[in-house]
Symmetry: C3
């Protein structure tokens, strides 16, 4: 960060990512959707070979189908942000707690790797790739 | 954040909230108490209908009675801060781990919604409301 | 934080600590090593009487022997940073998840207390002391 404008962008990007987590976890889907570009690309494959999800509509549908009935807490930490005019790259440490029911839940750890673009003065996420460090799953015991 | 003074306030508020967590978890009660206004209002009802606790003395007594014998770690993330002169509003993502004993503990997730005021140049919390996303309780199994 | 240069230092220190966590957890040992001074001192004794580890080489060896085969996620929050020219002190809230295997793991909470120095324009950690609030261990049940 080299000057006041870059520091303002740094804080604006932190604010936007805070809204990402809060709108996702409170299921404020309109507020969540507003954080992405129309051509948003979501890559949660993490080495599994799953295809990248292309387009905001498809990404919203995928996220909602995963957690619509779950309680979630996505928390992010210690951004590493690189600014280049109206584009920015960010890496965030992340933790997510996802509870589908009393005997099916996940606590995971990893990083979000993001590309942001400024559109009409507002930062939007154009691409997000999730890499995982570790996931702890709590699943039902198999039927006896 | 529009200018250097606002960015300084943003960092000052982040510092004050860091002290909130550290003094609470290390049970530095004098340092903790110093972070609140005398007319501080604490709302941890989260939809239960519990009354708002009014006044710093009552709030300190309530917090201490909850966790005096527990080990705790309150961690907060990604502030959304709105400044208005000597007043500020903040939303923080939060996680708390509270361990009352080997078979009674809690890991919780939620948000702090706060009103801060500047008194004699120092930011103090005037009101705090906790909303919960999810709580994982570990309680003793009922006696057989 | 009193002026633009101090705010730039504050963000630079946050970035460096973000790299600390990311390089440690992704086992980017060259990147991790680059964050410390040659005379780095690591104190993880936390009241046990264990000696302070002196020197970057010894500290790297100690860290690697602890977690080389483990999956880890070290996450840090809410820095309290004090700047004094080319030296800085920081306190970070921390959480670590360390998984040595399916039945041996740790989730811990505490604070890093650090001294940083600026060398050739880059912030390096000269000393780090870890204090613990609480540790949750998951260990194998004793053999029947």
């Amino acid at each position: 960060m080299n000057n006041l404008d870059e520091i303002k962008d740094w804080i604006a990007l932190c604010n936007a990512k805070a809204r990402y987590c809060r709108t996702l976890d409170t299921k404020d889907w309109d507020g969540f959707r507003d954080l992405f570009t129309e051509d948003y690309e979501l890559d949660v494959s993490d080495g599994t070979g799953k295809p990248v999800i292309k387009g905001r509509d498809a990404a919203m549908a995928s996220v909602q189908s995963s957690i619509l009935t779950a309680k979630t807490a996505h928390q992010v930490h210690t951004p590493e942000i690189t600014l280049n005019g109206d584009e920015a790259h960010a890496i965030w440490a992340m933790q997510d707690r996802v509870v589908w029911g009393p005997d099916k839940s996940l606590t995971g750890y990893g990083h979000y790797h993001e590309r942001w673009v400024r559109q009409n003065g507002e930062w939007k996420i154009a691409a997000l790739k999730l890499t995982r460090l570790h996931m702890d799953f709590q699943f039902p015991a198999p039927a006896a």
